[in-house]
C-alpha cells in the first residue's frame, strides 16, 4: 500500500501499465517510417524508369521532322527499367520486381499532344507514363491487426521539356 501512496511507485506502475501501449505506438511509428522510405524508393524507381524511357528517341523520325519522337519500344524500355530499379528494393517488396513491372500500366505517348485516359491529363510533348501498384511488406502492421502487405499506387510521368 505504501507503494501506491508513493509518487515513485505510482509512476512505476503507470509505466508498467502503459509500456505495451508505448511499445505498440513505437513499433507503429517505426513501421510507418519504414513504409515512407519504401514508398520513396519505389517512386524513385518509377521516376527513373520513366526518365530513361523518354531518352529512348526515334532518331529516324527526328531526322525526318526535326522534332523529338519517342521510340516505338519506349514502353518496353520503361517496363524493363522499372523491373531493374525495383529489384534493388526487393527486400521491401511483397512480390517479385518482374511481376510488379509486368502488371504495371505503362503507356508511351509517342506523338504530342496526347490525352491520357487513365489520368485525364493532356501531354504537350511525347510522354511516358507509368502507373503501378506496388505491394510493400509491412510485418509490424500485420502483427498489429493491420494488413501485413500495404499496396502503394505509384504514378510517374516524364517528357522532354
Amino acid at each position: 500500500m505504501n507503494a501506491l501512496r508513493d509518487d515513485r511507485g505510482t509512476a512505476a506502475i503507470t509505466t508498467i501499465a502503459l509500456l505495451p501501449l508505448l511499445l505498440v505506438v513505437l513499433a507503429g511509428v517505426l513501421q510507418l517510417g519504414a513504409l515512407r522510405v519504401a514508398v520513396t524508393r519505389v517512386r524513385a524507381a518509377a521516376d527513373l524508369a520513366a526518365l530513361v524511357a523518354v531518352n529512348d528517341q526515334d532518331d529516324t523520325e527526328l531526322a525526318r521532322s526535326g522534332a523529338l519522337h519517342l521510340s516505338g519500344d519506349a514502353a518496353a524500355v520503361a517496363r524493363e527499367y522499372l523491373a531493374r530499379e525495383l529489384e534493388l528494393s526487393a527486400s521491401l517488396l511483397a512480390g517479385s520486381a518482374d511481376e510488379i513491372a509486368r502488371a504495371a500500366d505503362i503507356a508511351a505517348f509517342v506523338a504530342a499532344p496526347a490525352f491520357d485516359e487513365r489520368t485525364g491529363a493532356r501531354y504537350e510533348r511525347p510522354t511516358v507514363r507509368i502507373a503501378a501498384e506496388v505491394p510493400l511488406r509491412t510485418p509490424v502492421f500485420g502483427a498489429l491487426v493491420f494488413r501485413p502487405v500495404t499496396t502503394v499506387n505509384v504514378l510517374a510521368v516524364s517528357s522532354p521539356r
Binding site: 521516376d47 520513366a50 526518365l51 523518354v54 531518352n55 528517341q57 532518331d59 527526328l62 531526322a63 525526318r64 521532322s65 526535326g66 522534332a67 523529338l68 491529363a121 501531354y123 510533348r125 510522354t127 510517374a156 510521368v157 516524364s158 517528357s159 522532354p160 521539356r161
Partner: protein, 335 residues
C-alpha cells in the same frame, strides 16, 4: 681409419648407383653424336579459333559515309562517299544494278536508292554487311553504293541565233549531239518547250551521223541557292530541331539549286550558341557536330546562323546564310 673407409665406400657406391647424364645441349653440335635436342615447347594455342570468311565476304576497310549528289552544270552525279577505316565488319556484293533496273534489295538498303530526274532508279551496287559473332558471320544491314550520272534539263537560257556566238563555228564542228551521249543517260525526254543540254563530249554522235548546230546559247543567270540543314546526309531539310540535352547531334549543311542539290564547298558558324561543337567551320563533306549541355531559356531556342559557300557552274560562286533553331530539351518529371 675404418670409419673413413666405410664413408668413402658409401659415397662412391651412391655416386655409382645414381648416375645421370648432363642435360646440356650444344646447339652447334649435330644430332649424329647421339644427343637429342630438347623437346621444343608446344606453340601456344590460338586465343580464338580462326573463322575464315565465306567466299565473297571480305573485310571492310572503307566504310560508307553518305550518298552524295553533285551538280556541275547540266551533269548531276550520284556517288557515294566512304571513309578509310575498319569497323571490324565484313561485306559482300549482293547485286550490281544498272540505271532503272529493279532489284529485290531496293527496299532493303538502309540508305535507300535514289531516282534520276526521270524517275528511274540510279545505278549502283548493293552490299550486305556482316559482323563476326559467336555464331559466325551474321548479316546486319544492306547498303546501296550509288554510282550514276544524268544530264539535267535545260538550265541555260534560250538558244542564240546561229552566227552570233563569239566562236562562230561551223555547224557540227563542236561534235555535240541533240541526244545525250553518255552511257548513263540514254534518251532523256525533252521538256515541252525546253532544251536538253548535253555535256561537252567529243565522242561520236548517234548512228546516222545526225548532228546539230553547235551550242551557241549563252549561260543563264546563276540559279539562286537555297540552303538547308538536315540531320542525315540525305534526309529532308528541317527548319528547327529538337535535341536532348547532352546528346551529340550532327547537322548537315546543304544547298539546293532548283530541284537539285549542289555541293557545299565550305560552311562557317557565324553566330549562335554552339554548345560543345567539334568545329565551327568545315568543308561541305564534314557536318557540324555539337552537343548542348545547357538548356535555352524557357520558351526560347538557340538560333544558329551559318554561312555556306557554293561554287558550281549552275549557281556560280555564292555565299548563302541560313539559320536553324535548336531547342534543347531534357527529360523531366511531370507533377
Amino acid at each position: 681409419m675404418m670409419r673413413r673407409a666405410v664413408a668413402a665406400a658409401l659415397a662412391a657406391s651412391v655416386l655409382l648407383a645414381m648416375p645421370s647424364p648432363a642435360g646440356a645441349w650444344d646447339p652447334f653440335d649435330s644430332d649424329e653424336d647421339g644427343w637429342q635436342q630438347p623437346p621444343a615447347a608446344p606453340p601456344p594455342p590460338d586465343p580464338a579459333p580462326l573463322i575464315a570468311p565465306p567466299p565473297g565476304v571480305y573485310y571492310v576497310t572503307d566504310t560508307y559515309v553518305a550518298d552524295v549528289v553533285t551538280s556541275e552544270g547540266p551533269l548531276t552525279t550520284y556517288t557515294t562517299t566512304t571513309v578509310h577505316e575498319s569497323t571490324g565488319s565484313y561485306a559482300r556484293v549482293l547485286e550490281t544494278v544498272g540505271t532503272g533496273d529493279t532489284s529485290a534489295f531496293d527496299s532493303e538498303a538502309f540508305n535507300g536508292r535514289r531516282t534520276l530526274g526521270d524517275g528511274r532508279a540510279v545505278a549502283g551496287t548493293y552490299y550486305e554487311n556482316y559482323v563476326l559473332g559467336d555464331a559466325g558471320f551474321l548479316p546486319v544491314s544492306i547498303v546501296f553504293f550509288q554510282d550514276d550520272a544524268e544530264l539535267a534539263r535545260a538550265i541555260w537560257g534560250p538558244p542564240v541565233p546561229p552566227g552570233t556566238s563569239p566562236g562562230g563555228g561551223e555547224p557540227g564542228s563542236s561534235g555535240s549531239s541533240a541526244e545525250p551521249s553518255t552511257s548513263c543517260c540514254p534518251a532523256l525526254p525533252l521538256e515541252p518547250g525546253g532544251t536538253l543540254i548535253e555535256p561537252r563530249d567529243d565522242r561520236a554522235g548517234p548512228p546516222g551521223g545526225r548532228t546539230t548546230p553547235p551550242d551557241r546559247r549563252a549561260p543563264a543567270a546563276p540559279i539562286p541557292v537555297r540552303p538547308g540543314v538536315s540531320l542525315l546526309p540525305a534526309s529532308p531539310p528541317v527548319g528547327s530541331v529538337e535535341v536532348l540535352r547532352g546528346r551529340p547531334v550532327t547537322l548537315w549543311l546543304r544547298a539546293f539549286a532548283g530541284d537539285r542539290e549542289v555541293p557545299v564547298r565550305s560552311w562557317t558558324l557565324l553566330s549562335g550558341e554552339s554548345g560543345r561543337a567539334l568545329a565551327t567551320a568545315g568543308t561541305g563533306a564534314a557536318p557540324f557536330r555539337a552537343a548542348w549541355e545547357r538548356l535555352a531559356p524557357p520558351d526560347r531556342a538557340y538560333v544558329l546562323r551559318f554561312r555556306i559557300e557554293v561554287d558550281t557552274r549552275a549557281t556560280g560562286h555564292a555565299f548563302v546564310d541560313m539559320t536553324i533553331a535548336v531547342t534543347v530539351r531534357s527529360p523531366a518529371l511531370e507533377s
